[in-house]
Symmetry: C4
Subunit: 252 residues, 4 copies
Amino acid sequence: MDIKLKILKKRKFKNPVLICGMPGSGYVGKLAADHLLNIFESSAICEIQSDYFPPQIATNKGIVQTMSNKVYHIETGKTKNDILVLTGDSQPITERGNYLVSEKIVEYAKNLGIKKIFTLAAYITGEFVNEPKVYGTATEKKHVRILKNKGVKIMNQGMITGMNGILIGTAKIKGIEAYSLLGETSGYMIDPKSSKAILESLSKILNLKINLKELSNKIEEANELINQVDEMKTKTEGIEYSNRDNSSQYIN
Amino acid sequence: MDIKLKILKKRKFKNPVLICGMPGSGYVGKLAADHLLNIFESSAICEIQSDYFPPQIATNKGIVQTMSNKVYHIETGKTKNDILVLTGDSQPITERGNYLVSEKIVEYAKNLGIKKIFTLAAYITGEFVNEPKVYGTATEKKHVRILKNKGVKIMNQGMITGMNGILIGTAKIKGIEAYSLLGETSGYMIDPKSSKAILESLSKILNLKINLKELSNKIEEANELINQVDEMKTKTEGIEYSNRDNSSQYIN
Amino acid sequence: MDIKLKILKKRKFKNPVLICGMPGSGYVGKLAADHLLNIFESSAICEIQSDYFPPQIATNKGIVQTMSNKVYHIETGKTKNDILVLTGDSQPITERGNYLVSEKIVEYAKNLGIKKIFTLAAYITGEFVNEPKVYGTATEKKHVRILKNKGVKIMNQGMITGMNGILIGTAKIKGIEAYSLLGETSGYMIDPKSSKAILESLSKILNLKINLKELSNKIEEANELINQVDEMKTKTEGIEYSNRDNSSQYIN
Amino acid sequence: MDIKLKILKKRKFKNPVLICGMPGSGYVGKLAADHLLNIFESSAICEIQSDYFPPQIATNKGIVQTMSNKVYHIETGKTKNDILVLTGDSQPITERGNYLVSEKIVEYAKNLGIKKIFTLAAYITGEFVNEPKVYGTATEKKHVRILKNKGVKIMNQGMITGMNGILIGTAKIKGIEAYSLLGETSGYMIDPKSSKAILESLSKILNLKINLKELSNKIEEANELINQVDEMKTKTEGIEYSNRDNSSQYIN
């Protein structure tokens, strides 16, 4: 099999933009992508199967689900750009797999006439953040400036690992404008607050209204969990988390 | 070599069904498959060799045995379906190997006209179970209903790793009806009781009489071992097994 | 590169036999092969290079040595069989590499008209052995009988990992008579005594005189080391080695 | 992708020599290569991209940087040899990747008419060294003599792992004269002093003036760090570093 890209729907799109939210730290990117699929009407247009994914299947209500990534078209109403969303069950598990699957997707995107690719990712801080900032990187200086103008902090130096990094790296090689938006997150738990921050930035950049209400419930649930953790922390006063050091930032 | 599928016997089968029992947790699936080969007359019809298997050979009474998987035809008497059984020395050791070997086998099954594939696997509970339940998953909603009607508990959400999962996932992709039956087992030791429970379910689903007497001896042996472990546990009262937590279920 | 087999000398051989001694536990096989190259006049006839070997080079007196396996012809005088010896710097480091390199070598051996392949390996006991026994396995029942007749103990059940196993497994698949001779060894240190025991068995099987004097020095050196270890052991009386249990035998 | 070698500038060179400084222990080789690019005018003539590199991108002032190795031409003024320098973000992460990328580079070098290849590497001592010696190895006896004549200590026996080793090994196989120069270094930290020592040797061998002033600042910074470590050591007097033993030398 290697990598199989199955076209589910053949359609032409107007100045299409691809937004990628893969599972990773804090599920920041995947939560954001899933939110877009929830609030807008969406239909899958392409499915990626690969033996680079983990060797397993999932069940949902007893029905076998094979590992896959999918590209969806979401109906955002009259906008300048048609919006496509990439998300999936898993990233490839080997290093080469990350390159090969990303390359296949970027080729598909290029054939589809995609003008811009965004990856949504996590910027790990090692501590809980009340108001997560959004960091950004882009393929060219003038695109970095666009991010800056929209209030995104520029990621001066750092690494983005996995598909969130390789997708924009491959886009650069193939001459497609690409961006990564990384929301600050502790790295300790699922973080819808960080996903919301990313979507707010994306909303400004794409000039696209995104209803963020449904993310609020998830944020409150997460906050309760953090409070519980904080209480536990108070009880063990004087003991420092080994990972609370800002200097050991890991991004993906 | 990669993967070599050697046809040992060329034959036509009537509505053939493939039952797969690979070595895995508790040897639940392999014990069940081996039992079928023991109680029915069987002949190997196909051998799979691959450099994705562990790099080793086994000896049996001094004779070199290369690693392989084999498909057998078992003589079950006059039934609606011819029954084929897949089992072997080992699953592939790399992730891609699991996909590639499974794909080869499902292709072979398709060419043979296989109508249904069953994988027999373990549902790990982390504690010893007196009357193991059988969980199931299938490729389509209507097939899930069949399992339900035969008393199989439906696996609502979970993962099936390795060939037991990939075989039915690949079957789904290639349009073959497929099922996995997973017997509850502790995950600590070889578990013929779980294998028996699976075969009882399989017997109902296929409407096939399976003599289960020979499994009883093995169950008694296993029970004795459990009793010894339990005694040791009583002696070390107050000490809990670190893995006895029900929440950490792992399935394969 | 993958695997490159470079013919260094093209020659016809009379009933040639291939003896393989790869580096492994106790260097039992490699020491034996090197001894053959030392006592007989030898010339390399084939070199195997591969990117499955460890990614490194060695230096010898400042000169770069690339990783390789080599086949040598040794001049044993007038015998029934021409004798070839395979040894090298390293076994492949990945599982597939073990299969692929072994396959290449067995194909080469087949083209050369090799009638019999022997691999020389270690049978790990977990404790120091005064008079190491030699275990054996072969591709067919009648060949097992030959080993028995020459005083080799038959390896009833067990695994042989790495090239020592795969070479005879591949030979079996390709229809070449093959044997493995495994000398008992502790698994803790280099063991020329075990190599000597293997060569004594090989000498009987091939009806080939092998001068074993030069191995004696090495055995004495090793014995001194064992005595030192034993003294240390006496001083720490009452403390048992964790691996001294005979039941946990590992063979390669 | 596998490995993509992109020619950035097509030019003919006069008796060209390739100097390779890849990231590794103490950054000894990379620091040396970077120094050459800093003090001489340089232009990239070839870029190597590969999915054997780590699956990540870096950002620099917000701009996406894909992983790569590059070959540069440096303007050294009127010398007997045109000088090319290879360096990059990373070595391949798999064993085969090391072989395949190195082979691609040596092929490119051969087509370019490269007469000599040097790799610059670290010789790990396990303790801080005041005046690091430079060890060397070469593809042939007569080339080893050249090193000796220039004051390089000959590496009698040892291993060189990764591209620093494979590049000269592959060069040997393809008939190109090749050398490795290894500067003594502790293995604990970045070591510009070792890089300087290597460049002094290289300067003599190539009869090329190399301004080493800029490395002095880096050495002073590193010395301060070592002094701090030494102070800490004095305070914990009597406690020995576990790795201070000269016998456990590891080279790469």
